[in-house]
Amino acid sequence: MQSPWLYIGLFLLVGIIIPIIPIAFSALVAPKKPNPIKQSTYECGIETVGDSWVQFKAQYYVFALIFLIFDVETVFLFPWALAINALPFFAVAEGVLFILILIAGLSFAWRKGMIEWV
């Protein structure tokens, strides 16, 4: 293949089609006898109360927030880590500084009790 991305594209296509096959086959051979009880939401046999799409703890959101920032920063580190053999020590130190700024953010969140599960 000339471009690896063409191969990746074909792979993604096939990789999505393969899991569809057993589901489609199952839809052909499996029995279909729906009834309201069977299709009701399963909550250990107790009747469902209220809406299922409930509001959840804000703490999950805060962790997602910290993750988002760290994810972007680690992406910045990949080109740096890759080219580290071609870099002078000064440039390596810049990457280290970048990481230290990242750690400062984490320690701030820690100090303020924002990564506690309340």
């Binding site: 959840f56 997602a64 972007v72 990949f78 870099l87 953010g105």
Partner: protein, 170 residues
């Protein structure tokens, strides 16, 4: 019409169709899922443009982090997911007109420009060598070391600010 053009047209159709769904779907979780389709189409375009690093970063950052954040935020801020009210405000025809005018304006300006038919040139050293060049460019003082460190400060500020705003109990 060669293979890259077919890929472009398919992914452009995906991008435009799902972008229209993003701005018109009533259910916000579904709108976020449509946004993921758009972002995936843009990632395909990056791969076509020989920017493989950006293509995977698009998936990692946008789909893996930003879209997840949107889904979390939607679940956090709406008591009833199935919002019954209208999703667009009263001045939506004006907004549509403005959107069309923007597109038309860009179209007119672009059509007067003579660089439109330009074709991509050869990449010196091949597409695989770009990644190491990116790393050197990000950390060498003559090039982009300042944006690199400033981006770190920006993200630090965003982390502190957003966590403070989100957690402030008062």
């Amino acid at each position: 019409m060669d293979a890259s053009q077919v890929i472009f047209i398919l992914s452009a159709a995906l991008i435009i169709a799902s972008a229209v769904m993003v701005v018109s779907t009533r259910n916000l979780i579904q709108a976020a899922l449509w946004l993921i389709a758009t972002l995936f189409g843009v990632a395909i375009l990056y791969a076509v443009l020989d920017a493989g690093f950006l293509a995977v970063v698009q998936v990692v950052v946008y789909i893996g982090a930003i879209a997840i954040m949107f889904i979390f935020a939607v679940m956090l801020t709406s008591k009833d997911m199935r919002d019954k009210g209208p999703q667009v405000n009263a001045s939506w025809p004006g907004a549509a007109l403005l959107g069309l005018l923007t597109f038309g304006g860009i179209f007119v300006i672009l059509s007067k420009w003579d660089g439109l038919g330009k074709l991509p040139g050869e990449i010196p050293g091949g597409a695989d060598a770009l990644l190491a060049k990116l790393g050197v460019a990000l950390t060498s003082p003559e090039l982009f070391v300042l944006p690199f460190e400033v981006a770190s400060i920006l993200l630090l500020a965003a982390l502190i600010g957003s966590v403070y705003v989100a957690m402030n109990k008062k």
